[in-house]
Symmetry: C2
Subunit: 239 residues, 2 copies
DNA sequence: GCGGTGGCTGAACTCATGTTCAGTAGTCTG
DNA sequence: CAGACTACTGAACATGAGTTCAGCCACCGC
């Protein structure tokens, strides 16, 4: 799944119009790209690198090569810029996801985005913004879980995946784990020497144990039966 | 704080001296508790609730019932206060961990801390500070992984856990997943209706799927053999 | 009693931030 | 060419942040 979708440049430029306002006339030709787009991408890059709160409008303006007031001119406020970034990233992620669907997606809901290159750092942005409560990102997570439920139902029908009592719960837990490891990228790097936002082929120290756990679990069968029974008992008491 | 120090009064007061400076003389008796300790705990509480960057010294002072300059008087700067919080939380976590060791720890490295009540919100603080690079918290994570390696070796010897090629890698991945889900607590709540910083008995919607995955995995045996082989091939190319 | 020491505070300082304002340059419309 | 509109900027404003200052007040050794 890693080397698969390396090349799909077709849908790249379309993203701008898709993600933000009604396609403000391309106007004054474009020597490079629209200042608005440069600002947005600069913001995504800086937000991904330093976090939203720690990034100043001035830093974004500098990275985009414009003056701070122009940021306000185009987006009104830092908050609205942030919303625009959320929406743009969400649009790009959906695009990557749908592109990957055609190529037959794998188990990892993030696989498609890891291959993405050349644009703003989607995974880095997600890793940062997953934790400070954006409705758009939350929506994206919900979609990922829903997608995972779908994929896993197919996998189960095809005999590749094991059945489960609680498909939504299982999908949610797996998604939380994937995204959680992404958010803790700094610790993953320190502990395992891998960069989860990069090429999976260089992150086998993470993916091999993960696959092993997904494949045969970590608990011996007899012990599992026992623990499972006691957990199910506990469930009847609490929620 | 309500039920007082009923459980373990011995180590309670000691933690102050342990976590911070050379035990500044208990001085003017203590009508309640030392202002210094109140400030530190207030900071931990606010950091846990709102994040470090979003918490002002004034907010901490208000929560502790003191004036902002007193915070500076005791800790010198917000940064040094934050370090003191890191160290104090690290000390409390180690304390809880060691206490839980005696009682025979379980699979979940966070289990001990979930039971902790009456003090500052350890898990909430961890969930917030895991992502903004504190050396003390990183150290704590390293210790958790090392502990997990130890526990899992014992479990393996006892026939409860499956053996693995890469014990450190497996322990690191499981720790990353546990902590990652904790950090994404907001999403866990929305998706599953659970509070991972609270009582596990009310979080079965998370723990049951997690146990199932840990127990028998999610991939059917034949498919697993196949994928595993291709992953091991891929490993020979990249890192 | 008395000077001093340390916990503690109200007010003020400095700085960075998000944001606004007034104005310029270039281009399109009539 | 007049007018208008849009992209864009330098300078300034307002606010909230971390931090500092000078002094109060209770206690303690002399």
């Amino acid at each position: 799944m890693s080397s698969a979708t390396a090349s799909d440049p077709a849908s790249g430029p379309a993203s701008d119009a898709m993600a933000s306002e009604p396609l403000r006339a391309p106007g004054p030709a474009d020597p490079d790209r629209t200042a608005r787009a440069r600002i947005r991408d600069a913001a995504i890059t800086r937000f991904a690198a330093d976090g939203v709160a720690a990034t100043s409008v001035r830093a974004i303006a500098e990275e985009a090569g414009v003056s701070p007031p122009l940021v306000m001119h185009h987006f009104g406020s830092k908050d609205r810029l942030r919303v625009a970034c959320d929406q743009h990233v969400a649009a790009l992620v959906r695009e990557q996801k749908h592109a990957a669907m055609a190529a037959g997606g794998g188990l990892d809901p993030l696989a498609a985005m890891r291959a993405y290159e050349g644009g703003p750092p989607l995974l880095g942005y997600l890793a940062r913004t997953l934790i400070d409560g954006s409705p758009h990102v939350a929506e994206l997570v919900d979609e990922m879980v829903a997608d995972a439920v779908g994929y896993m139902a197919e996998g189960e029908a095809a005999g590749i995946l094991m059945p489960t009592e609680d498909p939504e719960g299982r999908a949610a837990v797996l998604t939380l784990w994937s995204l959680g490891a992404l958010v803790l990228g700094e610790h993953a790097k320190r502990l395992l020497g891998v960069d989860l936002t990069g090429d999976p082929a260089h992150s086998m120290r993470y993916f091999l144990p993960a696959l092993e756990i997904m494949g045969r679990g970590i608990i011996a069968p007899e012990a599992y039966e026992q623990i499972s029974a006691s957990f199910h008992d506990a469930q009847e008491d609490g929620t």
